[in-house]
């Protein structure tokens, strides 16, 4: 790369948007998996009470 011209802000913004979107998506999925694990634990408890 030769000297970085002033348009780099736009290029950086474009790539950043993609990166942040994927990151946000990963965060949402992680939160979802936490919730699912919690629900699974509850159900395991209930199954133990039953059996």
């Amino acid at each position: 790369m030769k000297g970085i011209p002033s348009e780099w802000q736009y290029v950086a913004a474009a790539y950043l948007v993609v990166f942040v979107t994927v990151l946000a998506w990963v965060g949402i999925i992680a939160a979802k998996f936490q919730r699912l694990n919690r629900q699974l634990a509850e159900l395991v408890e209930k199954a133990r009470e039953r059996g």
Binding site: K2, Y10, Q39, L43, A47
Partner: protein, 220 residues
């Protein structure tokens, strides 16, 4: 589990190629590098909608609920990639021409139309209760979408003749060098891998959701 690793690798390679290997475009300058993300994202979006339509067709043929879920997740991904297409395209327009939107960019306008169309897909799904009716309608709508893509593209091209928008210097790469092609292709592969990774994860999450719901009903 090697898919996420592969995706990360592909992205690393892509970014390296885009910023250290591909030459600066003579006409457009540095901002042309947005092209290496923007177009692969757009193409991946089409792939998402195509995959969603394929799964919709499978659903109508087999009435397998899994196909409906796969179709839904694919279209969801398609809308995410579509939104990214619009945002990166807008940033590119701003960098190149100083405006945040250009009606003369056929690809961008097409994505606006498709974005509206597929967002309505989710409105449809939220509006109808879960069950065979919703799955049938979603499948038909998803298929309608892929038929609409070429028709809309043709319409947008025709509309340029009488709308006479301000035409800027085209973004379309005229003659790409080998280095540019390689960077583009690697980036495209990376995007497709990203779609595959996100698709699998989201699908797994939704399936677990469904199983948990079923378990809860049995146990309470």
């Amino acid at each position: 589990m090697k898919l996420p690793a592969l995706t990360t690798l592909a992205f690393g390679a892509a970014v390296a190629l885009i910023f250290f290997y591909a030459p600066t475009d003579a006409d457009q300058g540095f901002s042309q590098r947005i092209f290496y993300f923007h177009v692969p994202i757009a193409l991946t979006s089409y792939a998402c909608f195509g995959w969603g339509a394929w799964k919709a067709l499978r659903y109508l043929r087999t009435r397998d609920e899994r196909a409906d879920l796969e179709s839904y997740v694919a279209i969801h991904q398609g809308v995410i990639f579509g939104a990214l297409t619009l945002v990166t395209g807008s940033i590119w327009a701003r960098a190149s021409w100083g405006v945040w939107w250009s009606w003369s960019e056929n690809q961008l306008v097409l994505f606006l139309v498709l974005f509206l169309f597929y967002c309505a897909y989710f409105m449809l799904r939220y509006s109808v209760d879960a069950g065979p009716a919703r799955m049938n309608m979603s499948a038909v709508y998803a298929l309608f979408g892929v038929v609409l893509i070429p028709v809309s593209f043709l319409a947008i091209r025709l509309s340029q003749r009488f709308i006479h928008p301000v035409v800027f210097d085209s973004h379309a790469p005229s003659n790409m060098t080998g280095a540019q092609w390689l960077s583009f292709l690697v980036s495209f592969v990376a995007m497709l891998l990203l779609f595959a990774t996100l698709y699998n994860v989201e699908l797994a999450g939704k399936r677990i959701d469904a199983h948990l719901r079923e378990l809860r009903e049995i146990l309470t």
